[in-house]
């Protein structure tokens, strides 16, 4: 108190020293794996070489892995497919989720039961969801049975073995499982829209659609951004459901980034290259996410 300037300076120094262990720990957790990955990504190291990872420098190849990934057609195809799944799933889930949430703002008989049933898919373990849709889309499965009933002639589409149809099946499974999450988040946002404002708008002559566009959507902006961000990131990482349904097949027809990385890690064992791919994706995705969030927040 007597030497405010000094004591403040001491305080800052002391604070730094006191939190140093925690800072080192955080640094280790967050930064170490990245540095390790960066190091390995600059080598041709693989566990098959017999060398341990610190000795990876023996296989130093500078930026050859990064040069390779630019011309890796399978990687680019997987990336394109992942973005395609994302671009279909997220908007459809958003639209369905918003429509359902709008229905659930008002009371109706049986609302609680309908609500419980609706959020159930979200509780299903993704691997189990994968198994369920695997069974549904068998050529002798219920999906074909229903189609047969509608068309009045036997349908035996081999969904999971036809390249384009397999993608449709995978997208259907993702939408089934994750629309409930979108619904939950958007419902929370909708309930938070002040009733007074909606009434005021109605009294000023705004139609229900006008009220939705001018009051509800702007009020829900932050929630919508969060919901879209969560789902986009998750959709980009799609793996378990898809892996059980198609394993990325037929061929590479449903191979996404995660499946591709899984395969080159466990089957090809080219770990230097895997590290380069993973790091490149992390960087591109982070930049894209930050750009998108900033843009949407405006």
């Amino acid at each position: 108190m007597t030497h405010p300037v000094n004591s403040q300076k001491d305080g800052a120094g002391l604070g730094f020293r006191l939190t140093l262990p925690a800072q080192i720990l955080v640094l280790f957790i967050a930064v170490f794996p990245l540095l390790m990955q960066l190091y390995i990504s600059l080598t041709d190291w693989s566990p098959l070489t017999g060398a341990t990872w610190p000795q990876a420098w023996q296989f130093w190849n500078s930026f050859a892995n990064y040069a390779d990934l630019l011309t890796d057609d399978r990687l680019w195809a997987a990336l394109g497919r992942t973005l395609f799944i994302m671009a279909v799933c997220v908007p459809v889930e958003f639209a369905l989720g918003l429509a359902l949430a709008t229905l659930f703002v008002d009371d109706f008989p049986g609302k609680r039961i309908a609500y419980s049933i609706l959020i159930m898919p979200m509780m299903v373990v993704p691997a189990v969801a994968g198994y369920m849709f695997f069974m549904l889309f068998q050529s002798g499965g219920p999906v074909n049975d229903i189609l047969s009933w509608f068309t009045a002639e036997p349908v035996a589409i081999a969904w999971l073995s036809a390249p384009n149809l397999a993608l449709v099946a995978v997208i259907a499974a993702d939408i089934w499982q994750w629309t409930p999450l979108m619904f939950l988040i958007l419902l929370a946002g909708l309930v938070g829209v002040p009733d007074d404002q909606l009434k005021a708008a109605a009294l000023l002559g705004a139609s229900p659609l006008q009220r939705f566009i001018t009051i509800v959507l702007p009020r829900m902006k932050v929630i919508i951004i969060i919901a879209l961000a969560i789902r986009s990131i998750e959709a980009f990482k799609i793996f378990d459901t898809l892996f059980i349904m198609t394993g990325g097949g037929p061929g590479v027809a449903t191979e996404t980034i995660s499946i591709y990385i899984y395969k080159i890690t466990t089957q090809d064992l080219i770990w230097g290259y895997v590290a380069a791919v993973a790091l490149a994706i992390l960087i591109v995705l982070s930049v894209a996410a930050i750009w998108a969030m900033k843009r949407m927040a405006r």
């Binding site: 002040p194 007074d196 404002q197 009434k199 005021a200 708008a201 109605a202 009294l203 000023l204 002559g205 705004a206 139609s207 006008q210 001018t214 009051i215 702007p218 009020r219």
Partner: protein, 362 residues
């Protein structure tokens, strides 16, 4: 502009009756206050006028037109919400012209009318500001202006001053009253604050438990309450009400107030209206009408003395025989343990012991 007629209006929510057979006519251009404690049905009444709720029974007319089933967006009603319900994600201008934009008026007309309204309300300088962080009186002006843009026949205000701190309420009241003079609109104002109702309204409709108790000008309601509820509710503090029984003495009618003593003779017209002797009545008088005198007929022990600036309130007696007396702060405050007093004869009112309805002199 338009008159409002409520005919046999009833509202039930399940088994609960929020409003019992309400009949009320509000004249064109009148400022009517719906006054009552919370749960008295005043807000329900207003929501039905606005069309936010449908009446269970009865009709609502604006002038000659039956509005009972007209949806709220088409009633031509301006509504000012308790919290003003300003669209804070828009600018002041977007708030003001919201209704005109939604009803797709020509752009030039929207701009012209918005600017005229802003000019009138003193909001011109802040049209392109975001409608956040505005002070309450600006919010009130904006809320009224936003409704006024639609040129409504009727303005409904739902306790707009209840969230405003006491110091600012007087400013807001004055402003609101002058806005009403400018717009010359029929206004219905819901409040639980009798001071707001007394100072602003042309007439007051006092409500309690879903029943309309009395309709009249502020002075009528204050001077001639229709029943003990109105007598108690209007005025601060409310009217003193003492149970008693009529007796004859010295050729005049008095009220025997039991332990307090026997009142001074009732004034002629009131005595005539009160009728026979031995009748159970409630003897009422305003705290402002209490006169102290050593030879006055009534006596009560002095309790607490409240000094509230310009006025001093004496609390006499307790329970059934509690009396409050209001004096100017400059008056000498007595300190005797037992005070002798009598109400000013012109301030005395009588009510039926059963039901509490006023017994009125001719």
């Amino acid at each position: 502009m338009s008159a409002i007629h409520l005919q046999n209006l009833v509202k039930r929510f399940g088994a609960f009756t929020a409003l019992k057979t309400m009949d009320l006519s509000i004249a064109d251009g009148e400022f009517m206050a719906l006054l009552g404690p919370s749960g008295c049905g005043k807000s329900t009444t207003m929501n039905m006028i606005a069309g936010m709720e449908a009446p269970t029974e009865g009709r609502i007319l604006f002038g000659e037109r039956d509005m009972t089933t007209v949806p709220m967006g088409r009633r031509g009603v301006g509504f000012v919400f308790q919290n003003f319900a300003i669209f804070t994600h828009m600018t002041v201008r977007q708030n003001l012209d919201y209704g005109l934009r939604m009803t797709r008026r020509p752009k030039a007309e929207i701009a012209r009318r918005t600017e005229a309204m802003a000019e009138m309300l003193g909001l011109s300088g802040m049209l392109d500001r975001r409608a956040t962080g505005l002070s309450v009186n600006i919010l009130q002006r904006l809320a009224i202006g936003r409704s006024a843009m639609m040129e409504p026949a009727i303005f409904l205000l739902d306790e707009p001053l209840s969230n405003v701190d006491a110091a600012f309420r007087a400013v807001m009241r004055t402003e609101l009253k002058s806005l009403q003079r400018q717009f010359r609109q029929t206004m219905v104002y819901v409040t639980h604050d009798q001071l707001e109702a007394m100072t602003m309204a042309d007439r007051i409709a006092v409500m309690d438990h879903g029943v309309l108790q009395q309709v009249g000008t502020p002075l009528e309601v204050y001077n001639d309450p229709a029943n003990t509820f109105v007598a108690k509710f209007i005025g601060s503090p409310g009217m003193n009400l003492l149970p008693g029984r009529l007796i004859h003495g010295d050729g005049a009618l008095h009220v025997d107030l039991g332990p307090l003593g026997v009142s001074a003779p009732l004034p002629g017209p009131l005595a005539q209206a009160a009728g026979r002797s031995k009748r159970e009545v409630i003897y009422g008088f305003r705290p402002e009408g209490v006169q102290l005198a050593p030879d006055a007929p009534l006596a009560l022990p002095l309790g607490v003395t409240e000094r509230i600036g310009a006025r001093t309130i004496l609390h006499l007696g307790n329970g059934d025989s509690a009396v409050r007396a209001v004096f100017q702060a400059s008056d000498a405050v007595p300190a005797e343990a037992i005070l002798r007093f009598t109400p000013d004869p012109t301030s005395v009112r009588l009510f039926e012991a059963a039901g509490g309805n006023a017994i009125r002199g001719a």
